[in-house]
Amino acid sequence: MKEESLFDSLLRRGVSRRDFMKFCTSMAATLALPSAFSAQIAEALEKKQKPYVVWLELSDCAGDSEAILRSSRPTIGQLVLDVISLEYHETIMAPSGHNAEKSLHDVVKNHKGKYIAIVEGAIPMKDGGVYCTIAGRTALEIAKEVCGNAMATLAVGSCASFGGVAAAKPNPTQCVGLKEAVPSATVVNLPGCPVNPENVTATVVHFLTFGTLPALDKNHRPLFAYGKRIHDNCERRPHFDAGQFVQKWGDEGHRLGWCLYEVGCKGPQSYMNCPTIRFNEGTSWPVMAGHPCFACGMPQSWDALGPIYSRLPNVPGASYQATADKVGVAVVGAAAAGVAAHAIIRASTSKGKQENK
């Protein structure tokens, strides 16, 4: 029997042709391709058979699984991930124990070099890797076998990419990212804490459409998602440029949505597409919610950029950045003077009106 194509599977699940085309267009946009590519994406997804995928959870918190599975409504992107013949995923699969492991072994054996591995979580290297074992095997052994035989591996989240929170100082179990643990594997890093599901979907779609992995940076991250600086795409950037900074939680600037640089925002050092893609179907992202970015997707972010709530020292770039304190104070002063002047004018006007009565 011919295997069901991805598009057939979507149709069977009640996705209309129109919604499908909308999805293809949004994927072209996420991948930073001209909209004309949406037709090519659609054609590929209509014809391609569902790729076999195994999802490994190693030293993880399941946050990346949550990010992809927990959604207020099933999006087409989620369905794509759902219909990619997910053969193994500990948190959601029905079998346990030997039967679960059989599913994994079957894919590795029967589809060698043809399946996609998705890895969530870091790999502990200390003491022979005893700090994470599944079915009696260490995370390292499993990763070597499964990722070494995969067509490609997507390291989702910061732990699988760079060690993440598990590798924060003093890194008690000597956790590393997948590429460091299994250098021979073909790896795409999709860091973030958690990963943005849109970027996982887009990477899979790119692979299905063009048969290649997207262009990567030196950290093996796709340029379409990690090529631009958060600071340059932040909706609060005008406040930075105007010297309007939040100084204290809940102060006037915080209520007005001013720039969070002074209270520790690491946006000037972070290369991710959070401001444009956002999370939870484009609803929001940390800075929009009023919290500074803490560079969750950058290598060793828990230690490299200093404490979350400490201001980045002298962000390179425009000259005013080094003197943000002074500019901020000056602008607040000017604003206060403006408010005061306005108040005086209003007072005198209303007084005048009263007198007119």
């Binding site: 399941a62 009696g136 003093p170 008690p172």
Partner: protein
């Protein structure tokens, strides 16, 4: 007497192994092991207390 092991226990968050010793159709003894440890307790030691929430919410 027979011993069975279920590892991994799926549909949970985390890694769990259950071993059960059976004698005459009855459970004689059983062991549960969490088979993953990252030492987050050690990671938050000496850190700025204000960022501990961000680390420990990744449990």
């Amino acid at each position: 007497m027979a011993k069975i092991a279920i590892d991994p226990v799926t549909r949970i968050e985390g890694h769990l192994r259950i071993e059960v010793e059976i004698d005459g159709g009855k459970v004689k003894d059983a062991w549960a092991s969490g088979t993953m440890w990252r030492g987050l307790e050690l990671i938050v030691k000496n850190r700025d207390p204000r960022e501990v929430w961000a680390i420990l919410s990744r449990i």
